[in-house]
Symmetry: C2
Subunit: 240 residues, 2 copies
């Protein structure tokens, strides 16, 4: 029952033209931290796969106070905050080397049986509940995002570079497709405040997806639809 | 006058569905090594920018004996092999933790004046020539690739996620667009042998590019054309 601490340094390929870490790089680091910390606690991907079960990311939110600079070192603190029947919440605090908070994140995960695709009862395994750390955390949990109709739409075919070891599109790739739809100024303003993401259905290699975006000055809402019109993913980005 | 050694560990986001490091991840690591080592020798991007000059990658080749596995640690050795009037050659050897060679790479760079876009005479600065290490290196230098006509073509618009700090598409992004055109089996066969890349003209945010590919069983040749039909980049991938 303790927090894990993981150090990162922002690499040149992780910054955009403002020389600050992109939202996607930060999301990748945070999810990487989740994977490492689960592994350290004995319930990482590798262990789960031996039992034919797998982690599924359901909701994810990141709050950004400041995007770290190229080559800047920063630290992510992570802990399991809560375990309910089918969902566990893992939280994160991002701090710079002066120990100042630069962001935070919250994620909700299920474990599914890879054969039946059914969610497991997480409370039946003390391994998951024993690690809960009851820390105060002021961040609002990841929001549920309603249907997005979309002023502008795009299309994306799931490609080799999008997929991970299980042939599904990688979690942060959805955010890449979404943010590539926005005007460049929106992503490089330095005023990103928060993203909420709902992962609803998986997408696979070759799927031709429809992307929709609804934009106002300070909020953009996105929806990714699968070929059969079911929703794969929704997200909402807010600016300061 | 010595080699630099840089350690990497293959991260989950750097593997494909075969759980081996992708060609793009290896290329990113190799180019990162080039940047770090130049910096360590006092002629990194940061130093050059202060003098309003910049590195430009002209040709790049990677030979792969074995793509390292997820979480595998490996080491890249790098050195400046040669300095001619307008071009310097930097070589690389990739070794696993048993000190076995798993690949090698060679890259050719110019330094240009950012105002005039003219190449500098590299031999006029002892800083560049003093670091040359005359090591034997059995790899053939990056090939010059002739015009590609292309059986199949695609299109790509340069997006936010493609560009680096100077608003040009990132070097390895060209390879991502190219390899995304190939059948999945080609990229996941584990039999990648070599890639040669010629960088001819830059591409910028918003450019609508044409991609062409000519394929046989063991070779694929690619061309990326700019809106004005000039060639931005050519590459050739060979399989064992």
């Amino acid at each position: 029952m303790e927090c894990g601490y993981y150090d990162f340094q922002v690499q040149p390929r992780e910054v955009d033209l403002t020389k600050r870490a992109t939202l996607i790089a930060l999301g990748d680091h945070i999810l990487h931290t989740a994977g490492e910390d689960a592994d350290r606690n004995g319930f990482g991907i590798r262990t789960l796969h031996e039992h034919n079960i797998a982690w599924v990311l359901s909701r994810f939110a990141i709050e950004i106070d400041r995007q770290p600079d190229e080559y800047e070192k920063y630290r992510i603190q992570t802990w399991v905050a809560e375990v309910s029947r089918v969902m566990t919440t893992r939280n994160f605090i991002l701090r710079d080397m002066n120990n100042r908070e630069i962001g935070r994140a919250s994620s909700q995960w299920a474990i599914i049986d890879m054969q039946s695709r059914q969610a497991l009862d997480l409370r039946s395994n003390v391994q998951y509940t024993d690690v809960v750390v009851p820390l105060e955390f002021p961040m609002q949990r990841p929001a549920r995002i309603g249907a997005v109709h979309g002023d502008r739409t795009g299309e994306h075919t799931v490609r080799y570079s999008d997929i991970d070891f299980n042939q599904h599109a990688n979690s942060m790739k959805y955010v890449e497709w979404m943010t590539d739809l926005l005007p460049l100024e929106k992503m490089t303003s330095g005023h990103l405040a928060r993203i909420d993401i709902n992962y609803i259905h998986e997408t696979r290699y070759g799927d031709v997806l429809t992307l929709a975006v609804e934009e106002s000055d300070t909020v953009a809402r996105f929806e990714v639809r699968r070929p059969d019109e079911t929703v794969a993913c929704r997200a909402m980005i807010q600016w300061k």
